[in-house]
Point group: C2
Chain length 160, copies 2
DNA sequence: AATTTAGTTCTATTACTCTTGAACTAAACG
DNA sequence: CGTTTAGTTCAAGAGTAATAGAACTAAATT
């Protein structure tokens, strides 16, 4: 049962943050980290201080501290400050995040290297059909990886 | 401490299966599932029955049963049988596996859809720079996703 | 018909990750 | 100099996923 039946202005935002949070969980984030992402993506202004985040998400200080530091280590978020205000305002750093997404994209097909080792170990096998199947997988991943590399280069040259 | 100081013929294989297993764990598999993959990739012949797998990995029957069924549901492995022999011989099905890898490759940049929703919610924001940063991420993912789609099509037309 | 084989299923245990509460710190403030 | 602020750290609790053990089943074998 949600906390309030009288839909407050934030009720909709809360629901959206939860929904986005679930989506980020599916991409591998822990529940709280995912919700911090959701909140910082949807919040207006798109930067919020420690206690705003904690209050909005209804989580503990330690959880928020760990989540913010984890996301900062990953380079997805950073913070800004304002003179005369000790608080840090955390925000998603879209440049670093894009940088990270590029790297991850380039890692597509990283299994290729593993399978190449397997193929080497299997050169003397009595069952070459299996090796041929693996070879095709390696070739697919090579094909895609090369294409992605090219595309990421192209993207980086765009609008220079 | 490893089980034997006298390196048996399988000692090297055991180490390789563990090493491959760790690599598959990093790709998201559970420890035992990852090791089943490692074993079936390196085993000669490349198909093994339930008890061979259990004995080689030193795991319980229930763990092996769950692992094999899970990998079968994913379509990564299947089994073959031989007349007059009740056992099923499990093996990696390279065709299905490649099929699965293709699908996964096409899912690269699935976050795009999420961010498009966020952008829509932010159209009236006082902080358009943030929206522009998100927009660039969306565009990157669109660019890559389209390229990958094209490449997968190309791959499928190869050698027809 | 009784037994063996080739697994499966269910419950319990273990291991690990996530989250919290409470105590703590370092800088700033009054 | 004592207090508030803005967090951090650490030990512990809760929750979840992985594995194991033991009982079970269905088909085949004797």
């Amino acid at each position: 049962m949600p906390k309030q039946d009288q839909p407050a202005p934030e009720a909709h935002l809360e629901a959206k943050v939860e929904q986005l949070g679930i989506a980020f969980e599916k991409l591998g984030m822990s529940p709280i980290n995912a919700r911090v992402m959701g909140f910082l993506l949807l919040a207006e202004p798109p930067y919020k201080d420690f206690y705003e985040i904690r209050d909005f998400l209804g989580a503990s200080k330690s959880s928020i501290s760990l989540a913010l530091n984890h996301l900062m280590n990953q380079g997805i978020i950073d913070y800004l400050t304002f003179r005369g205000d000790r608080r840090r305002y955390f925000r998603i750093n879209t440049d670093n995040w894009l940088q990270k997404l590029k790297q991850q994209t380039l890692e597509t097909g990283s299994m290729r290297l593993l399978l190449e080792e397997v193929l080497e170990a299997r050169t003397a096998s009595e069952y070459p059909e299996f090796g041929e199947g693996l070879q095709e997988i390696v070739e697919f991943q090579e094909f895609i990886a090369q294409g992605i590399e090219l595309m990421v280069r192209k993207w980086e040259e765009r609008g220079v």
